[in-house]
């Protein structure tokens, strides 16, 4: 198999006496959706915060496209091509879609905002994900539904040429139809050559869209399996610790 976009080996993190990550390995490949599942307190958030540079790991090797990198702050994570879409999305409701997608990295010409260029690029990014649910890129985010907001947040990572997009519970607050839309969007995002990691509690969604499933249990990666080689009952077993993964089964 080709080089993973991101490869973690032996990653450790502790907060005082509490070891949250006890030597975790994880691989995510371009064009694939990898699910990161595990019960509350398994260490999912800590693992992601290390990748996004919010809370760097204590120990372990992080390879990005085969090269060892040391991610120590969010700006740098963004610069090498890692984008995280948090559950609360971090959008400004009083701004429109274009303004949100370019927030913090506005295009400037003649000392003023180059609105037309930004609008063009934002529209292209949405089109590249075949987004059909958004009527106008100049709509205020306050007028968008939960699914549309998720779409904007994901499209923003496309605009930033992300190589790895991490989605934190992207469907947690959505209804059935919108969940479907967002999952399709995630699929298209991966198909465009991006490595996607999804944190999710919803195994139905995970089995619908993910290529690989990585299971964290109490700070250890107890399984990383291809979705087609497993089933929901087994994964629930790994998550709750009632079943041990014994290689290919």
């Amino acid at each position: 198999m080709d080089t993973p976009v991101i490869e973690l080996s032996g990653v450790k993190k502790s907060f005082g006496p509490v070891d949250v990550l006890k030597g975790v390995d994880l691989k995510a490949y371009a064009g694939k959706v990898t699910a990161l599942v595990g019960d509350n307190g398994a260490g999912k958030s800590t693992l992601i915060k290390g990748l996004s540079g919010v809370q760097p790991y204590d120990e372990g090797v992080v390879k990005f496209n085969g090269e060892v990198v040391n991610i120590h702050d969010p700006r740098q994570a963004g610069a090498i091509g890692i984008e995280v879409v948090y559950q609360d999305l971090a959008l400004c409701e009083n701004l429109d879609i274009v303004q949100n997608m370019f927030l913090g990295r506005e295009e400037i010409s003649q000392l003023t905002l180059n609105e037309s260029e930004m609008e063009l690029q934002a529209t292209k990014a949405l089109q590249s994900l075949s987004v059909r649910t958004v009527k106008s890129v100049r709509q205020k985010v306050s007028s968008l539904s939960g699914g549309q907001r998720q779409t904007v947040a994901i499209a923003r990572s496309v605009l930033r040429n992300a190589k790895l997009v991490i989605l934190d519970e992207p469907t947690a607050a959505l209804g059935v139809a919108q969940t479907e839309q967002v999952l399709n969007l995630v699929r298209r995002l991966a198909d465009s050559g991006v490595a996607v990691i999804i944190i999710s509690h919803n195994l139905v969604d995970v089995f619908k869209v993910c290529d690989d499933i990585a299971v964290l249990y109490l700070g250890r990666m107890v399984a990383q399996i291809e979705t087609k080689n497993t089933n929901q009952a087994d994964v629930v077993g790994y998550i709750t610790g009632t079943k041990n993964y014994d290689g290919a089964n």
Binding site: P74, L111, S136
Partner: protein, 413 residues
Amino acid sequence: MSNLTPTAIGSGHEGNLRDQVKAYFSRVKNGEMGALPAIGAMIVLSLLFGSLSPFFFTKLNIANLFVQTAELTTLAVALVFVILLAEIDLSAGVAAGVAMDIFYLCLKAGLPWIAGVFVALIFGALVGLVLGWFVAKIGVPSFVVTLAFFLGFQGVALILLGDGGLFRVEVPEIKAIMNENLPPVVGWGLLVLMLVISLSIGLWDRARRAKLDLAVRPLSILLTRTALLGLLGGFIVFFLNQNRSAAFKPIAGVPIVIPIVVGLIFLGTFVLDRTRFGRHLYAVGGNPEAARRAGIKVGMIRISAFVICSMLAVVSGLFHVSRIGVVEAAAGRSIVLSGVAAAVVGGVSLFGGRGRLVHAAIGAMVISMIDNGLGLLGLSAGISFVVTGSVLALAATIDALSRKRSGGSLTRS
């Protein structure tokens, strides 16, 4: 908005005049009312006062109304910068008062008036810097820190000027701002200049969009808007160019302060709408956490907003001194609340992130009209306060309700 091609993502610029008008009304319906309630109030108030008092629509009164509003408008515009961040600056009025005391002391020390203005503006910038630092870096709520400054500066003014002092400021250039008028032809010239600038910016934006093959709004919208602006401006200039004096010596022309205030609003709006700083200011006002994650230096934006607010407040203080011709220790104590009221009445949201400078100007006009009209009717100052307070409460209610309607939460973030 046209829905003929449902798969394409629009930009709101598509469709003919009718679609655009329809889209505008649907935005209004969704709670983006902007200054519409204030404009409505302005019309109702002028009809009311006009029918009750024969003096309301006299040329002299209308001209006075414009001049008196200049101070309040400038202060309200200043406050918009901090209100957009869901902050408040209660000290703006007295800070301007102290700045004017310093201005007076500079004149007394023999400095030229222009140096005195410069020193006063620097003082304003420093006040803003300190306020912003307390809010952004220490995390003191702006309500508390500016209240502390509001009290403290009243003391400073008393210390600087001594008890009960009223001191004349004899600078013809300063006095001219509020008391002299432009020659009629200059008034027309400035109006034409304003229309040309406004139209060229509109055409320039269209050209930029067209170059990238983006949809553009029908030209008729831009032309109609410019024509309306020209009509309104033309009416005001024509009106002010008439002789409004009841005495022998004629008074005619646009008061000098009006183009200054219009220029300030234009410049401020340009900064807010078309620069990175302005965009970031709105972003911090809308969702500080999102702004921070987007790499915006939230603290710097907050401090800058307070600096701009305090400096513009000093300009408003200068207008005040120009009008009454004296500095006094009690200056600026009550006007700041009218300034906040003006901004909110005009449609600037106290929840942050929504509102424009021109809204504050319209709100200031409403507040001044109430003051002026009730005064003409011979009603007491007490009634004026009660009415202004009620209007503010009404405006804040509209703000909260429209925010609810447009899907935002009612809590400050």
